[in-house]
């Protein structure tokens, strides 16, 4: 017994310490594991989201060219120059203009296409895949082909227009015409994609509503207006938001339409904000390019904020 007593006490203390460590492990598990679970996202977000954002802000406060090892701190000079830079405001105008001209008809067209497909059809899958095809085509191929179509001398579009007595239009040269041409390329790529999103939403609309409307004698167009569109409003809001953000970032189309000219035409008539950033990056003027990037970020935050407010206000009606 005497010999066992200390044994027991060690056993007890061992038992207690085991329990303690298990408790600790449990507490650690409860407290720390969730962090470990979300760590992959956080790490990736920090590496590819947060760090570039902060570092770009840091670079934007400097006179920073790639080949020089000295980066002079200039405070907000890049931003003050930017706000007085007519090329920057020109690019902002172009971005908004191209965004508007491409997004509005695109969404209307997408709803119409989805409406057409939202009925019993032969070879339904074929039609749906066809809708997505332009989206998986390389943007370079799309722009090269469309640049040919919009050619001044031998373009197909001018040829067709000439039947109606319209003289040769230099699509690339004009501000409005170039915006139309670029918007057409964007619409070509994204209309089908958005139509599929709308179609998915439309299929969730109860059939009974349409049946009842048909019995009441509502036309197809009236059904679209009075039933479909109100029912898929959340999807419309979502598509509007993603399309606006996409429109802010247009760069490949104007760059290639201008045959790799980073100024977006000789008069910068179709230089978008993203292309303006790119122009300054190719000049290796990283400080200024970073300042523009930050201004663009601010614009996107504002637009996203407006979208958010609109969504919240209409939230009551939708759900």
């Amino acid at each position: 017994m005497a010999t066992r007593a200390p044994d027991r006490s060690t056993a007890v203390s061992r038992h207690r310490s085991e329990r303690l460590s298990r408790q600790l492990a449990h507490r650690l598990d409860v407290k720390a594991s969730p962090y470990a679970y979300v760590a992959p996202f956080l790490l990736l977000f920090c590496a590819f989201g947060l760090f570039p954002l902060v570092y770009t802000a840091w670079v934007s406060l400097h006179e920073w060219t790639l080949l020089s090892d000295v980066h002079k701190f200039v405070g907000l000079d890049n931003f003050t120059f930017l706000l007085g830079d007519s090329y920057f405001w020109n690019a902002t105008f172009n971005t908004l203009s191209i965004g508007l001209v491409s997004t509005v008809p695109q969404l209307l067209l997408a709803i119409w296409l989805a409406h057409l497909l939202n009925r019993p059809l032969r070879a339904q899958t074929l039609f749906r895949v066809t809708l997505l095809l332009p989206n998986v085509t390389s943007v370079v191929a799309v722009v090269v082909i469309f640049s040919q179509l919009f050619g001044r001398d031998y373009g197909l579009i001018n040829w067709v227009l000439s039947w109606f007595g319209v003289g040769a239009i230099d699509w690339n040269a004009g501000t409005a015409t170039s915006h139309v041409a670029i918007s057409t390329m964007i619409m070509w790529r994204w209309t089908g994609y958005n139509a599929l999103l709308f179609l998915a939403a439309m299929q969730a609309v109860p059939r009974e509503l349409y049946e009842a409307a048909t019995i009441d004698g509502a036309s197809g167009f009236k059904q679209l207006r009075k039933i479909t569109i109100p029912m898929i409003k959340p999807t419309i809001v979502f598509v509007v938001i993603t399309s606006t953000i996409g429109a802010m970032q247009v760069v490949a189309e104007p760059l290639l339409f201008g045959t790799y000219s980073p100024t977006g035409g000789p008069d910068r008539q179709y230089q978008t904000l993203a292309l303006f950033i790119y122009e300054n990056f190719t000049k290796l003027d990283f400080g200024y390019a970073s300042a523009i990037s930050w201004m663009m970020f601010v614009f996107i935050v504002i637009i996203a904020g407006v979208n958010y407010l609109l969504t919240r206000r209409s939230g009551g009606n939708i759900t």
Binding site: L67, R152, D267, F281, L284
Partner: protein, 430 residues
């Protein structure tokens, strides 16, 4: 081989991404340097911006250096030079031997500490071979270090369509055509007559190219030799501008941007009768409009010969671990025999004047251009060439003027306003 295409700046973002991936590829060459052991395997990378037709020369090099493996990488013209910039700035990924085109050479030679001094590997022995100005372009700004050796140069000529000339009642024989335009003013005058007679074709492709050629022929271009931007005050630049505007206003331009898809179509369809031709452009025309074979011919350039567009140097970045082998490879790639071979293979005009009297070159005719003796035409141009100092941002300067001329051509601005805006654009070039 030596194409400076301002305005065709390719995706920088892609370039930066590429730089990182290329850095990974370049790692293979960073093996420890061969120290006495001749059998040690060495990998040399060569970075180019098009097919220089170097492959047979690599084989020749390998015969003398069985332990060396050569890997060639190619990138699009602007990507290539932007890649090199990022590689030098980040200190990783540059090839052992890199090609640098004339429009960029003055961007890189001031970074003398980032390249090996080829003098230390005995390449100063080659100085006697070279055109003096081409040799000097490869030196560091103080002239003490040899950073690059020249491959080719871009002497100027004027290519023209014989069928369109016939239509306008102009002579088609290349010697008589050359006599039509001793000066650019004459060229402009003949052009005005031409567009008066031929309704479905213009005189030249676009506004930027002739402007560029005129400036290239002047003793001083956009920069002085101290790298000061003098484009706004140089009377020769202004003269080239005024003459270009005059030609635009006379309706001589087909309004096609060089190397754009409509330009390719215009070449094929015969939208214009003449086009300025550095030696390498004979290859571009053949590639862009193969069906026009035999309709072209080559005459002397207006303005009395002279002028250089393009041409390349080979340099060895200090990131490479095998400077001795890299220097030997550069020596071989630019050797007299190989420059001769590259002229017949790739149309690359040698930078070694002794070759200009070599019968292989002087007797060379180009069947695509109606059997024009392009060998003789371009070597004559090279002999008459007045070298001009190319400044560090010549490409950006040219873009500013090219855009300004296009604005005039498209009727968006009066010439004087366009000139003023071009000067403002120049102030933004850092």
């Amino acid at each position: 081989m030596g194409k400076l295409r301002p305005g065709r700046i390719a995706p920088m973002l892609a370039a930066v991404l590429l730089a990182t991936s290329v850095a990974a590829c370049g790692g293979g060459s960073n093996e420890p340097a061969a120290s006495g052991a001749p059998a040690e395997k060495i990998k040399l990378t060569v970075a180019l911006f098009s097919d220089f037709h170097f492959a047979p020369i690599y084989e020749e090099f390998k015969k003398a250096h069985p332990n060396v493996e050569i890997v060639e990488r190619r990138a699009q013209f602007n990507d290539h030079h932007k890649n090199l910039t990022t590689q030098l700035a980040t200190g990783a990924g540059a090839a052992d031997v890199v090609a640098v085109e004339a429009g960029y050479i003055a961007t890189f030679t001031p970074l003398a500490d980032k390249f090996y001094d080829l003098n230390q590997y005995g390449l100063n022995k080659r100085q006697a071979d070279y055109l003096d100005w081409k040799w000097k372009q490869g030196l560091s700004p103080d002239g003490s270090k040899l950073l690059g050796l020249g491959t080719d140069i871009g002497g100027l000529a004027m290519c023209y369509r014989t069928d369109l000339f016939k239509k306008a009642g102009l002579p088609t024989d290349r010697d008589e055509v050359s006599k039509l335009w001793p000066t650019w003013e004459d060229y402009s005058k003949v052009g005005a007559d031409f567009v008066g007679k031929v309704k479905d074709a213009k005189w030249f492709d676009g506004p930027g190219e002739n402007f560029r050629a005129m400036v290239d022929q002047a003793p001083v271009g956009y920069y002085d030799t101290q790298n000061n931007l003098v484009a706004g005050t140089n009377p020769d630049v202004r003269k080239a501008w005024d003459l270009s505007v005059q030609m635009l206003q006379a309706g001589e331009s087909a309004k096609l941007l060089a190397f754009s898809p409509p330009w390719n179509t215009g070449l094929t369809k015969g939208s214009f009768a003449t086009i300025i031709c550095p030696s390498w452009k004979t290859g571009s025309i053949k590639d862009a409009a193969p069906t026009t074979s035999g309709k072209w011919d080559v005459a002397a350039v207006p303005g009395g010969g002279g002028g250089n567009q393009g041409g390349t140097h080979l340099m060895a970045p200090k990131q490479g671990k095998h400077p001795k082998e890299a220097a030997e490879l550069i020596d071989l790639l630019t050797s007299k025999d190989n420059q001769l071979k590259l002229f017949t293979d790739a149309g690359a005009l040698p930078s070694i004047p002794a070759l200009y009297d070599d019968p292989t070159i002087t007797g060379f005719t180009n069947p695509f251009f109606n059997n024009a003796p392009t060998g003789k035409i371009f070597t004559d141009a090279a002999k008459a060439l007045k070298p001009q100092y190319v400044g560090p941002k010549a490409g950006d300067v040219l873009t500013a003027f090219g855009n300004a001329l296009q604005r005039v051509e498209q009727g968006k601005q009066q010439p004087e306003a366009a000139w003023q805006q071009a000067l403002q654009d120049l102030e933004r070039i850092k």
